[in-house]
Subunit: 286 residues, 2 copies
Amino acid sequence: MKIIRSPRAMTAWSEQLRREGVKIGLVPTMGALHEGHRALIRAARLRCDALVASIFVNPKQFGPQEDLAKYPRTISQDRALCKKEGVDICFEPTVEAMYPSGFQTMVTLPAIARRWEGEVRPHHFSGVATVVTKLFGIVRPQLALFGQKDFQQSVLVRQLVKDLNLGVEIVVHPTVREADGLAMSSRNIYLSSDDRIRAVTLYRGLQAGAEAIRRGVSDGASIQKTMIQTIRGEPALTIDYLSVCGPDTLEPLSAVTSRVVLLGAVRIESVRLIDNLLAAPPRRSS
Amino acid sequence: MKIIRSPRAMTAWSEQLRREGVKIGLVPTMGALHEGHRALIRAARLRCDALVASIFVNPKQFGPQEDLAKYPRTISQDRALCKKEGVDICFEPTVEAMYPSGFQTMVTLPAIARRWEGEVRPHHFSGVATVVTKLFGIVRPQLALFGQKDFQQSVLVRQLVKDLNLGVEIVVHPTVREADGLAMSSRNIYLSSDDRIRAVTLYRGLQAGAEAIRRGVSDGASIQKTMIQTIRGEPALTIDYLSVCGPDTLEPLSAVTSRVVLLGAVRIESVRLIDNLLAAPPRRSS
């Protein structure tokens, strides 16, 4: 495995391979790799000829009050994981290389970024859209993989690629979970051991909502109430939002008639956790 | 020459050629081609193996009160000019193909777009940046040519390519002028024959400023005053702005110490005209 830090060298590597007809895959990460990233890398490895994992803690997607400075950095372990899983290039640009003096271009998707995570984190998604556009420009992959855990991000990236004709196939990989069901996240290490146990209640709440849908409950408000009640059973959790949405629009639904996504965000102490589940109503026999 | 309307077909054509090592050039236009476009196409023809001219009147770069509906459309003549000058592909996408339902992504360069044209036309440059990013995604050129006449646009496109790592070489071609000096523009046809004669005063004003700089005048305000006085000599013209700026930053300069750009915009009746000149102070013998 090769480590490349310069965007120019990264592009040169990719352009050479593309001319040879090689299919390049990209797994963009902020490092602090866990089993969720490992699953993304393995899925990517099966779908492309040459695999790039980028490791870049993107300052533009953090708000001023957020955890940029303390975001976990575990570069040696990250590289070891990448090497073990058959990554060809670890692309590790510096902040200065990505955002040199005079940098000003921002990419925004106002409709998708308006709700949910975007409401709590106003510049987050434009930071994500901008860095993804840049990474696609530098790495020039035919394929890129994102985790379903960041569901709104995956919807945004698909729309971005379509809108700007970026020509990259986007694969969204199912969320990888701990044994008890907690979604894997680099931020889980912020949790105290007690809070770590309590955190799974977010997933339980989403599961209760999905179960109601499978049982035939179609009223959006009832499903939301079911999720809220489950999560209120754990007083350590504060709900940011819990919603029943269309999986493409992310608009809240008053009635469930086809596949939906249940989105949730909670806080435990100063740690913010998000998760989601896809759910579909039972088939009616006519 | 082939006409392609579908973005997908355009990308397929380009990808095929790129794999064969062919260098693709793009001249993006809004049609209504004139001698300025012809010069761009000729300059491009000399610098690439395969040449695409795009013809797309981009609604996103027009304001609600602007001339989108009446913008001149001369597609048959445009195609004939392209064919004559050796264009390989005329790319003519529809508005629906470029901005399908659900489209929302916008690309913004707030610092460059703040001043001059951006002040008068608030969403113009984000419309330009968005369509250029899209055209580069669809056509995938190694090279693209823009006219110096739209100076602020050329600065914006260079910064855009750098910021988003679009990997396209940008060539800015000198402004082509009518015999009397008026900069060629698709909008010149809006001028009455009397106003057409008066319009050249914008160029004369910029020339007076450039001449002052060449004579050694270095005070920004004096140079600006020289330009304003020349243009005020023609009462039909209303000045929008006249400025002495750094050619990369487009920030106004109080003192001229190296190469500058003189930017000007005027109105005659309902027609708005822009023009610019590069100028450098005399070399000091030390």
